[in-house]
């Protein structure tokens, strides 16, 4: 365990698109090994918050402190090396499931990460997935299967901070329970999880809930 109690601190964050403010004066902290849900009405800026934390949208003002160091514009790759990020509604520019699963492990920043067959089997089993999907085309599997297989990728990347956008949105209740359990196990193994969600059951399983609309 590293010295810093908080892996992530967000201070007075403001984000605007074309002069339209989507996040106003938002602050929060995330402890190591903590699982926090961000809730709020549609359009309240939940997804924009995750995108801002990853450096995908510019901040109007405010600061992001990751692992004790303030992240400045142009340095976000430092943060991304130690994070895993699962956005909502992914569409893929490739044909095969195996391409999607294998690609993140080919990145230079992930070259020290090992993904063995046994690890894939274990993750797939815990997520209720058949191993056979690895040999299928993406259009041959359901949206829920795609969502769950990406959780296997995220888990095996073994990053300290995991940001999830609506992790249970494409899932039926049984799969949602499996995924929630899977995420909780990642958290118990020391990962810090920040998840944007509409799912009250998922939010109830988190250590804390931050409602972005009431800030």
């Amino acid at each position: 365990m590293k010295g810093e109690e908080y892996i992530l601190k967000v201070n007075n964050l403001n984000v605007a698109y074309n002069n339209h403010i989507v996040i106003r004066d938002f602050s929060m902290q995330l402890r190591r090994g903590e699982m926090v849900a961000i809730t709020g009405a549609s359009g309240s800026g939940k997804s924009s918050l995750l995108r801002a934390l990853m450096g995908f949208v510019p901040l109007t003002s405010g600061e992001i402190i990751f692992d004790g160091a303030q992240m400045h514009k142009g340095q976000m790759e430092k943060l991304r090396r130690q994070t895993a990020f699962l956005p909502q509604d992914l569409s893929f520019p490739c044909e095969w499931v195996s391409e999607v699963l294998e690609t993140p492990f080919l990145f230079k920043n992930n070259k020290n990460v090992t993904a063995t067959k046994a690890m894939w089997q274990d993750s797939f089993q815990r997520l209720g997935l058949d191993e056979g999907i690895m040999d299928k085309r993406l259009n041959e599997i359901s949206g829920g299967q795609r969502q769950r297989m990406l959780f296997a990728v995220i888990a095996m990347l073994d990053k300290e901070l995991i940001l999830l956008d609506e992790p249970t949105s494409a899932l039926d209740s049984g799969s949602a329970m499996l995924v929630t359990e899977f995420i909780k196990e990642m958290c118990e193994s020391g990962k810090s999880i920040l998840a944007v969600t509409h799912d009250k059951q998922f939010a109830a399983e988190c250590d804390r809930i931050i409602n972005i609309s009431t800030l």
Binding site: G55, R81, N109
Partner: protein, 260 residues
């Protein structure tokens, strides 16, 4: 063996063949009659102008004039690529132009100097046609590749950010989109190469034979033209996309708006 000239009367008689496509386009109310007739008129006008200035380029055979002409071709090709891709001039002009120049110079001079072993690589008879055919092909490939690259990057931007968010560098995150662009842009040329001479006799070869070359010389030129156009096109799009990665994304890898 020289080429038989076509008189103006004969040329007009030949152009009359266009009545066949125009008739069917009119009969089936395609709405393309006006654009076809306009395109035909433009082609005739443009080619007469090209014939006129090529006549003087050939007459003077001046290396500086020949190079100046190629520079003009690069500017026109860049402008055409920007118009057809609807990309922002301020960001995309430099990558496209540098791509064209790199492909034309490296492959063009390799062919003229090393393959043809010309003493004067600027000789108008070779320099202008070879650089011209390279520019034409590079333009077509760049337009398809850039359109494919940006349309997929816009449509699947979430996947791009998914990869960045999981440790990819910009280069790694754009590689699936580069792959798609290359597949789309080069598949027709590679498919054509595979059936060359079987399905149809290619243009360069026909031109050479009509110009008086023997078939064995014509096929060698045809092979070389296919190889140099594909090589130059690949080189130009590789350079363009490399520069695009540096200019069309911000310091954190976010996609800049490059559409006009």
């Amino acid at each position: 063996m020289g080429t038989i000239d076509i008189s103006i009367e004969s040329l007009l008689a030949g152009l009359l063949l266009m009545a066949i496509p125009v008739y069917f386009l009119w009969k089936y109310r395609t709405g393309m009659v006006k654009s076809t007739v306009t395109a035909l008129a433009r082609m005739v006008g443009q080619l007469f102008l090209v014939g006129l200035y090529l006549k003087y380029l050939f007459l003077w055979d001046n290396p500086f004039l020949n190079v100046a002409w190629v520079i003009i071709m690069v500017f026109v090709a860049t402008e055409t690529a920007l118009t057809r891709t609807k990309l922002k001039r301020s960001i995309m002009m430099c990558p496209i132009m540098v791509g064209f120049v790199t492909g034309a110079i490296l492959v063009g001079f390799y062919f003229l100097g090393i393959v043809l072993e010309l003493n004067n690589v600027f000789s108008v008879q070779y320099f202008i046609p070879v650089l011209g055919i390279l520019m034409g092909n590079m333009l077509g490939v760049n337009v398809i590749a850039l359109n494919t690259f940006y349309s997929h990057l816009r449509r699947e931007s979430t996947y791009y950010y998914f990869m960045l968010g999981n440790g990819a560098t910009v280069q790694e995150a754009v590689s699936p989109f580069v792959k798609q662009a290359l597949v789309r842009a080069f598949s027709p040329a590679i498919a054509n190469m595979a059936v060359m001479g079987l399905v149809a006799l290619p243009g360069t070869m026909i031109g050479q034979i009509l110009g008086g070359s023997t078939p064995d010389v014509a096929i060698k030129y045809q092979m070389m033209i296919i190889v140099i156009t594909i090589s130059a096109s690949m080189l130009s799009i590789a350079v363009t996309l490399y520069l695009v990665r540096r200019l069309a994304f911000d310091a954190d890898g976010c996609i800049k708006n490059v559409s006009q």
